[in-house]
């Protein structure tokens, strides 16, 4: 089963504006947020966002680059991966 969803993972020191910054960038690209969770690992803030990429206005590579740049400004690391990598690893 092929789906068009991706997982955005944001990691870094917690600060004001991370959620707003990243979700703003997603909205800009027309990526719908389907689910969102966050957690703390020691000092590290980790946010995981499941997004629908079927209607995005830019390529996935471009979206990744935009999020990476936005993340840099916020002092966080952003990864974007097609959800299949998680599905393959964690679901049989």
């Amino acid at each position: 089963m092929q789906t068009d969803r991706a997982v955005v993972t944001v990691m870094g020191r917690d600060r004001v504006g991370i959620v707003a910054g990243i979700s703003g960038e997603l909205a800009e690209a027309n990526a719908n947020i389907l689910d969102l969770a966050s957690t703390k690992m020691g000092d590290l803030f980790v946010m995981m966002i499941l997004i629908d990429i079927s209607g995005i206005k830019v390529s996935l590579a471009e979206l990744k680059e935009r999020l990476r740049r936005r993340g840099e400004g916020l002092g966080v690391q952003v990864m974007v991966q097609h959800e299949d990598v998680f599905r393959y690893m964690h679901r049989v």
Partner: protein, 460 residues
């Protein structure tokens, strides 16, 4: 949605434990390039590699991007060169034919360079039962071929469980290896890093130097080699205090996850290139990077330094658990599928050598429970060819009697002796020259001929 723990586990494997796909290898059939006119065959070989593999590296990069998983090596495997060469060298005297073989190697190199892959495997021959004329020519051309190319790898299969061991080939390979070392003496014998003698060489092996596109393979095919020694080591480190049953279970679960990534990447690559997805090779492949070491896993199990008593049992447990976990994770398992213990490419193995816990003899014992045998072992440059042949034969015997693939990749380093350090660079790493027994096997090797297949081959 996935749980937070699942997502974090995956991210940790990629960022902290360097999870990657070690090799995606595109197998290409070149039999339709065969011609009795050498020039047209050579041109066709270069063209076909470009045609089939033109978009290979670009697609691999797109897949890396999509899943956030690095694909470390993009490679090509082709039909064994000796099977291509025959018609083009009929009636051409030996020296001229050898020169044409070297030119074919250069065509492989050029094809690989054009499409941007780092290695192309298949400059080899299958001689387990004997030599065709083309096989003999090809074997003799190997030193010059490897000295005049960058990307070409050579694998010569000299034994199988069914055919026994071609001792004449083992004898020839002793000389070929030494000549290759001397032909690349200005770079510490690096040609030998790209040359392996094999028993039971799989037709779908994605790893160099043993990769070639077997005659039973389809037109073109994607084969994937997984990785993940650091991921497995992290799992083993979490198992302190657990017994072996729990340890095996833990490795199995982790191997499953690593292999699934290989399966995903392989399927996607095959779909993008419009070719068949072949196999996932379950081998754990180390690199010279810190942490990416099989020796480290063995030590994390509780062995003070790799090579100490217990190392063979530790490696056996590791290989078996990786296979069991991996077999569940992929539709087709193939290639070598076992742990690799290439000495120069594994920083932990080098440390063990330095510490004095690892010897050639212990490595030989360890090869009986893993896949690629005596791999990337630097030996003194003055090792006699008969001794090299005899080491190869020991490896072949382990492969044939255990009915498994095994390779021997030895690097006699010109001008160096035991204990000297040699830098090969890149993926080949650096090596400490190992000492080799000073006792001779020359009378044994001089017998020549063929060791008959073991009784194990009488099946069916």
């Amino acid at each position: 949605m996935f749980s937070k723990d699942e997502i974090i586990e995956t991210i940790r494997m990629i960022l902290v434990e360097h999870l990657n796909v070690r090799a995606v290898t595109l197998g290409i059939n070149l039999l339709d390039c065969v011609s009795d006119d050498f020039d047209s065959m050579r041109d066709r070989v270069e063209e076909k590699i470009s045609e089939v593999a033109g978009g290979f590296v670009e697609e691999a990069k797109a897949v890396e991007e999509k899943y956030g998983i690095p694909i470390v090596n993009k490679r090509i495997a082709v039909t064994p060169a000796s099977a291509l060469l025959g018609p083009a060298i009929v009636r051409i005297p030996e020296e001229g034919a050898i020169e044409l073989a070297v030119e074919l190697a250069r065509a492989f190199d050029e094809g690989a360079r054009r499409v941007g892959v780092d290695f192309i495997g298949g400059y080899g021959a299958l001689v387990q039962k004997g030599f065709t004329r083309a096989d003999s020519i090809l074997l003799r051309s190997i030193p010059r071929a490897l000295a005049s190319t960058e990307r070409v790898c050579s694998c010569v299969n000299i034994a199988t469980t069914k055919a026994g061991i071609n001792v004449d080939a083992a004898r020839a390979m002793g000389k070929v290896i030494l000549e290759t070392a001397w032909a690349t003496a200005n770079r510490s014998g690096i040609g030998c890093c790209k040359l392996a003698a094999f028993a039971n060489a799989p037709e779908d092996n994605p790893f160099m130097a043993g990769a070639y596109h077997g005659l039973g393979e389809p037109e073109s095919v994607i084969n994937v080699g997984i990785s993940g020694p650091a991921v497995i080591r992290a799992a083993v480190e979490q198992s302190q205090g657990e017994d072996f049953r729990a340890l095996a279970e833990r490795i199995k679960r982790t191997a499953f996850k690593i292999t699934r990534v290989g399966e995903l990447v392989g399927r996607e690559m095959a779909e993008r290139l419009g070719v068949r997805f072949g196999i996932v090779d379950l081998s754990l492949a180390p690199t010279p990077e810190a942490g990416e070491s099989i020796a480290d896993i063995i030590e994390a199990m509780g062995i003070e330094s790799c090579g100490a008593p217990g190392s063979t049992a530790a490696l056996a447990l590791l290989t078996d658990a990786v296979k069991k976990g991996g077999a569940m994770a992929t539709s087709f398992v193939g290639g070598l599928s076992g742990a690799f213990i290439p000495v120069s490419e594994d920083a932990g193995m080098r440390d063990a050598l330095r510490a004095g816990s690892l010897s050639l003899e212990k490595l030989e014992a360890m090869t009986s429970v893993c896949s690629v045998g005596l791999d990337m072992i630097a030996i003194p440059g003055d090792t006699p060819p008969e001794t090299i042949s005899a080491i190869i034969m020991d490896g072949m015997a382990i492969g044939v009697v255990n009915d498994k693939p095994i390779g021997v990749r030895l690097i006699p380093v010109p001008g160096k002796g035991a204990g000297d350090v040699v830098e090969f660079g890149g993926l080949f790493g650096s090596a400490i020259v190992m000492s080799v027994s000073r006792f001779s096997a020359s009378k044994f090797i001089e017998r020549g001929g063929h060791i008959p297949p073991s009784i194990l081959s009488l099946r069916g």
